[in-house]
Amino acid sequence: MNVTLRIWRQANASAKGQMVTYQVQDVSKDMSFLEMLDMLNEQLSVSGEEPVAFDHDCREGICGMCGVVINGLAHGGAQTTTCQLHMRHFEDGAVIDIEPWRAGSFPVIKDLVVDRTAFDRIIQAGGFISSNTGSAPDAHAAPVGKLQADRAFDAATCIGCGACVAACPNGSAMLFTSAKITHLAMLPQGQPERYLRVKSMVAQHDEEGFGGCTNIGECAAVCPKQIPLDVISQLNRDLIASLFKKDGK
């Protein structure tokens, strides 16, 4: 199959970007979307042009490094990571628009690559359980009910790709933040810091310039790990509760 790509090219953070059109021929339907981009880049390299920069690493849907907006939808809207999207999802002759995540808190570094270090700073604000190496009690010291353990797991599967932010009309990172809140709030080990955690993480979320959540749900609709929207309710509940807790300061 042949496809026409319209790709956002931007030389660096301060440069002005623009959409540039490329043709790629003889694309196999079995190729992944990123392999199709590899093919374009081989073409560009051979002709001495600068290849398109894009982030990617594991290419099996778990590291969270890849992610672009495809035809207006984060990861192409198929609830997978971009690396797990395959060309059979497109028609022969398709015109495909490819853009970086669009959010003020994710500045573009080059072409399709953005800076997502804001996510790390939200985790630094409290997305952990303080437990120094060597200080742990036996793993069976605190049983965890299966339902709680499963809910914690469902939230913990977040890969930090940033699709939720890219999809949100408000540029909010609430799904990401709430996933971590819910993961740790469901576990007995997470209780001592629970209310302090939610306050610090939400404060850092706002500090980074992410927008507020208005329950639109675009985030969960594109999430490659199907993090459920109700984790945001969990965050809101914990945040309100923290106002009445002493250990929430």
Binding site: D38, I123, Q124
Partner: protein, 705 residues
């Protein structure tokens, strides 16, 4: 719980892979080589030089094995907490080993500088591990113990690992689970709230802890959270999107690294009192592997060039159940759990002319269930290396299935080959019903369907082996220190714990053992004397020279401006490695491979085309540097494979097999670690042998009869 997660959950609860069982045959003597070779210099003197024997001096091997670690921890010199913040530790890599070490050493109060090439430490490739993590907890009351985990690991490694290291690994395994649970790692649990475990990788006890099929992800996120906590506390400084380009060695000691900022291209030195590399495996030397695209050997290789010995580079693990290559544009391979072999039957058409037919149109009598035919006792459950090798044999015979893929033969002629065999669930569906099969394997079938676009409930899946893990790595002693004082290597990047083959669910265990419990208790022994070594300034000649070397190399790569792309070189190198240093190795093939790699390397340095400039986000330049190092490593892997004229673990030499085609070890000649010293570009490497002494365990030969 959603339907999808419920299915996933049931799968995780039910998957248990009774694979790769290695029965003992206590009476089996160690058969000697048919045609004895005198030393290893027979015909191979052109390839390497034999140097002095080496050994580990840190473990007190006169003690019983279970006392060695305690004694070492007691003997190791300590660093006063007040002095720790004055000492700087560089850690390259943020996976299970690197991330855990950085967090733990930060907590201990050292000043840690932590580097990774990804945009955040949470993306290191440890994240992709699926199955689980072993620990000798004996929560199942099924006769498990530290000794049994130790025993299984040494045996699984085909008696090519150092027993003191492996015992320690088993010893600290239980602490790892405690630590991870305390961090909030959501391991699978039973209804009573206690941890669930399963049997994995052929062992007969249920010691594998897991978090659905995403154990690596959950363990890594646990370590990452502890790391970020230390970043906030100011003990760890993170350098994401920074690649280590060179090791700085001054007065014979590792004193820092040179990094390249992958956004701005800035080449910068960083100095420290000690350097730790936790940079993962080098499977990408094969181009196609289950590794992430960015995985590379540069950090370890640069250290090797500066004096760190490289241990057993030829030991590679090849996994039999991966999704096959679809065509030339394939960029990586995806692994599926080998539990699929429990119920799936593997076959190819009996006749090559049937290979392009629809599989369902091939009559039962025209199918060759070759594993069941060749190994009637084990059938489809033969160990990984045998399953892999036989799949290759079938495809080499022209009986492979799936799309025709272009390959080059020895003479460089193009040939079209089908690289796949069927893994058929039709019988299982008939026997168990589709629902039951879905409950057990649904998530794997979904993954297969997503990647191939085929429905595995209706059409047999196609599988083919792929490179998965490298047991070889930088040589380290019991303290994980290399032959360069002040340089430590942890996790998959070192050679230490898996011998010639790694057991399932042991990679996560080793990474975390090294990072949480080993390094934080050994590195202090070196750091206690660090003040005596004095500081090192950025204008030190060793620093200036290292920076100039890096800059010179980058300038050279950009100046060549040839006609071939970096990827085309990498793919060609991968083809050579896969063909001659893959599942089956021969003297003739390895010699051919070495000459091909040398020629390719020469062409690379005169004809590669690297676009763009250094002072930019330049992914082509990044790849070029990595491929250049893979070319040198690839040659050493072939030399190592050539010198080891025995079959052991993942290393199969066609010249060393039993009448039944099984791997034949030669303990009389090869019971040692091959530690290679770099002797200069283009010079013959020097082989140092570290004899393996087994005191706590008895040597046995494996057998599948």
């Amino acid at each position: 719980m959603s339907e999808k997660s419920r299915t996933k959950k049931i799968v995780d609860d039910t998957i248990s892979a009774a694979l790769g069982v290695i029965p003992d045959e206590p009476g089996a003597a160690d058969p000697s080589f048919d045609a004895p070779v005198s030393g290893h210099d027979t015909g191979l003197a052109d390839y390497y030089i034999v140097g002095a024997e080496i050994g580990d001096t840190k473990a007190k091997t006169d003690l019983p094995v279970e006392q060695i670690w305690s004694q070492r921890k007691f003997d190791a010199k300590l660093v006063n907490p007040a002095n720790r913040r004055k000492l700087t530790v560089i850690i390259v890599g943020t996976g299970l080993a690197g991330g855990a070490a950085a967090a733990s050493l930060g907590e201990a109060g050292y000043n840690v500088l932590n580097f990774c090439y990804q945009d955040t430490p949470r993306r290191a490739h440890s994240i992709a591990a699926q199955g689980g993590i072993n620990a000798a907890k004996n929560y199942r009351n099924d006769n498990d113990s530290t000794y049994r985990l130790f025993y299984d690991t040494v045996k699984g490694g085909d008696y090519r690992a150092r027993e003191t290291n492996v015992y320690r690994l088993a010893e600290v395994s239980a602490n790892i689970i405690d630590q991870c649970v305390a961090q909030g790692v959501p391991f699978a649990r039973e209804y009573g709230g206690l941890l669930d475990t399963r049997s994995f990788g052929g062992v007969q006890v249920q010691r594998t802890f897991y978090a659905r099929g995403q154990t690596g992800q959950q363990l890594l996120i646990g370590a990452y959270q502890q790391l970020e906590r230390q970043v906030k506390a100011g003990t760890v400084k993170m350098f994401p999107r920074h690649e280590m380009m060179e090791l700085i060695v001054s007065d014979g000691r590792a004193r820092g690294i040179v990094s390249r900022d992958m956004v701005t291209g800035a080449v910068e030195p960083h100095v420290a009192d000690v350097v730790v590399l936790a940079t993962g495996g080098y499977g990408n030397v094969f181009f196609l592997s289950t590794n992430a695209m960015g995985c590379n050997v540069t950090a370890g290789w640069r250290a090797h060039r500066k004096g760190a010995y490289f241990g057993n580079p030829c030991y590679t693990q090849i996994h039999p159940t991966c999704i096959p290559v679809h065509g030339e544009s394939q960029s990586k391979l995806t692994l599926m759990s080998e539990s699929l072999r429990n119920d799936g039957r593997i076959w190819v058409p009996k006749r090559a002319e049937d290979c392009d037919k629809e599989p369902t149109a091939i009559a039962e009598e025209d199918r060759d269930y070759y594993l069941e035919r060749i190994y009637p006792a084990f059938g489809n459950l033969v160990p990984r290396d045998i399953a892999s090798r036989q799949a290759k044999n079938m495809c080499d015979e022209g009986r492979g299935v799936g799309p025709l893929v272009k390959e080059l033969d020895d003479q460089g002629n193009v040939k079209m080959v089908r690289r796949g065999v069927y893994l058929d669930f039709a019988d299982a569906i008939k026997r168990l019903g589709e629902d039951k099969v879905r409950a057990s394997y649904g998530n794997l079938f979904d993954m297969y369907a997503q990647i191939t676009g085929e429905n595995p409930y209706k059409v047999p899946m196609r599988i083919y082996p792929a490179v998965h893990y490298t047991m070889g790595g930088v040589w380290v002693d019991y303290d994980l220190m290399t032959s360069i004082p002040g340089l430590y290597v942890a996790g998959e990047a070192n050679f230490s714990d898996h011998g010639a083959n790694r057991l399932g669910a042991s990679a996560l265990m080793q990474g975390l053992a090294d990072g949480y419990f080993v390094l934080p208790n050994t590195i202090n022994d070196y750091l206690a004397d660090a003040t005596k070594h004095g500081g090192i300034k950025l204008d030190d000649p060793a620093v200036v020279e290292a920076v100039a070397d890096v800059q010179g190399r980058i300038d050279k790569l950009l100046a060549i401006n040839g006609t071939r792309t970096v990827d085309s070189f990498h793919k060609e190198l991968g083809r050579i490695m896969w063909e001659y240093c893959g599942m089956e190795r021969t003297e003739e093939g390895l010699k051919l491979a070495i000459s091909k790699i040398r020629a390719l390397r020469e062409e690379f340095w005169t004809n590669v085309k690297v676009t763009g400039v250094n002072e930019d986000f330049n992914q082509t330049l990044e790849r070029a540097g990595r491929v250049a190092d893979f070319m040198e490593l690839g040659e050493l892997m072939c030399v190592d494979a050539l010198h080891r004229r025995e079959s052991c673990g993942g290393h199969f030499r066609a010249e060393s097999q039993t009448e039944d085609g099984e791997a034949l070890r030669h303990d009389d000649q090869f019971l040692y670690v091959a530690a290679w010293e770099f002797a200069g570009t283009g010079a013959k490497p020097i082989l140092h042998k570290e004899p393996l002494v087994y005191k706590a365990i008895e040597l046995k030969q494996r057998s599948y009869k």
